[in-house]
Subunit: 346 residues, 2 copies
């Protein structure tokens, strides 16, 4: 299913997703085709307002197409209900273009739950994958670490976590170019007996999986950069991710409060702020290209609601990489290996 | 069981717990009695080396006693095994002083798991409490938030989480003086249907509990300060706590890396660092007085291994407050109310 390096990859972009749609989406599409020869974009959404936005730019019209979709799924809508009630939405229509082969990958900065549900519903799962997973990148002391799952599955069984590890390993290997990625299992202590029941049972599976499993990692290890992929249930992963995202905003508030306490403080903060910003740019989740949904029979990347045009482009680039690597064929193969081994061990 | 304001509170202090024991423990005991008229300390541990440390200070010897205990439980030992094999350890001996009434409360900066296990084993549980819990404070945009549980219970049932909420509410009310504390349930979305199975079922219980339950809170809300007490299982709570603790050290590393990239950077960091330190002092977990173990039939506070003398004193002050408030009598009463209501709703 992978395309040759010379063929263009077509990405359908949900132009109505995101808090600032379609402005950032259109600007992101323009930025993408200008900077990436290998990517064409199909903007999916309300043709009227998208065309208004497109008029602001000069671009190669053979590389940005428009696919009209009049319905919009908003950020607050209940995912399953929204998908059912709005089959003509930009989100569902964009995914259908992947189903029919008119696009190679789909990206959206819209309602996360709805993108997950619609991706699964429209594209289906890779054979033998029990549950698709979304992973997020965490900045670390050296490089980055991907955490799977960060919210697709709140209640997990050991087999689910094992499959997240397999998919995460393939992603880290083929998208980040990490050879034999180190896999950690998130828990409350290093010993294999530490953790809740599901985690302790998962340890046993990971030990025998043939993956480069380095054992349990704790909350304090996530940002140490000693692990390429960390596996956990989507309940824990989602809470840690959102906590991490809130650290920057807390720091900003603390800086502001400190500055408000007098002129000297204000001057100090003024001097410190630029430095801090430089240092913390790795933590700026808006800059990064969304989180991949792995395990579905297609490519779907979900961005932050506040994605900037640059973040949209980064999502498109990540989607192109996934398409060119034929990542789903590799996942299918590795998951099958695991299936054979878990069947044996039963 | 609460003592009058004029009576002294005696605290047994595990002088051998902590990474820098007994140096910080003895210095902490001295600082405590100097600054707190209402507290006497019994140092529990190896008399020889404790006396060597005590010699460095002048103090009122009627207020600091020594209780010899020759065994030491180290940080790495398996809790249950260590307690069984070392009944004469400073940790177990210190707790026994509470059991016999020779002390009103126990504090230790030693092996967290061992303190939890020995506290439960030696002092037992408050009537109707199914699982004791440890809570930790998180700094927020305004004031602090206590999170229960942060590691005592990795697998929890809804009734356990409900009881954590009751105990946390009593603690916030009687120790932090917060009237009708706001209780949040940690989850992955605001709606009552969001979360894993245990969380969704806990929501129902909390709604009917008579507590000031404000609903689900997400990872990003922990440090917003909108909630006084946040309830979660000890697996998630422990991971978030350790992640939070690691943020400071990551920031330090990032600052150092940045400074190493050239003289201008080095100067910038030099200017920014003092300001940052001022701003981040709320995040310095070593400064704070340990985490209370609630639900046991006595008072036990567990400190960070790296507790400074000041942190030791803060633990003693917190223990005094808990003893004077008669917090366990109040918990017993509130847990009984909950028991009656959950029995009815069954």
């Amino acid at each position: 299913m992978s395309k040759g390096a010379t063929e263009k990859i077509t990405i359908s972009l949900d132009a109505m997703g995101g808090d600032n749609a379609p402005v950032n989406e259109v600007a992101g599409a323009i930025e993408t085709v200008r900077s990436n020869d290998g990517i064409n974009i199909t903007l999916v959404g309300k043709a009227g307002i998208i065309n208004e936005e497109l008029k602001k730019f000069s671009y190669d019209s053979s590389r940005i197409k428009l696919h009209n979709a009049e319905d919009v799924i908003t950020m607050d809508e209940s995912p399953t209900e929204a998908i059912r009630k709005k089959p003509g939405s930009s989100l569902v229509s964009g995914l259908k273009l992947c189903k029919t082969g008119e696009a190679d990958a789909f990206i959206s900065a819209g309602n996360t739950g709805a993108v997950m549900a619609a991706s699964l519903f429209t594209l289906g799962r890779i054979a033998n994958v029990n549950r698709p997973t979304i992973g997020s990148r965490f900045p670390t002391e050296r490089g980055i670490t991907m955490v799977f799952d960060v919210g697709a599955n709140v209640d997990c069984k050991p087999l689910n976590l094992l499959q997240f590890a397999v998919m995460g390993s393939v992603f880290a290997n083929h998208i980040y170019g990490i050879n034999n990625p180190k896999i950690g299992l998130l828990s409350v202590g290093e010993e294999k007996t530490k953790g809740d029941t599901v985690t302790v049972e998962t340890y046993e599976l990971l030990e025998k999986s043939g993956l480069n499993f380095i054992g349990n990692v704790e909350g304090r290890d996530i940002m140490k950069g000693t692990t390429d992929v960390i596996v956990c249930d989507g309940f824990t992963g989602n809470i840690v991710l959102k906590f991490a995202e809130s650290v920057l905003s807390l720091l900003k508030t603390k800086f502001k409060d400190y500055a408000d306490r007098g002129l000297v403080n204000k001057l100090k903060v003024g001097m410190a702020y630029g430095t801090l910003k430089d240092i913390l740019k790795d933590f700026d989740y808006q800059e990064y290209g969304g989180v991949p949904l792995l395990g579905i029979n297609g490519i779907s990347i979900i961005g932050h609601g506040r994605s900037s045009p640059r973040a949209i482009m980064n999502m498109a680039v990540k989607a192109e990489q996934m398409a060119r690597a034929g990542i789903n064929d590799i996942i299918a193969e590795k998951i099958k290996d695991i299936k054979d081994y878990t069947a044996q061990s039963e």
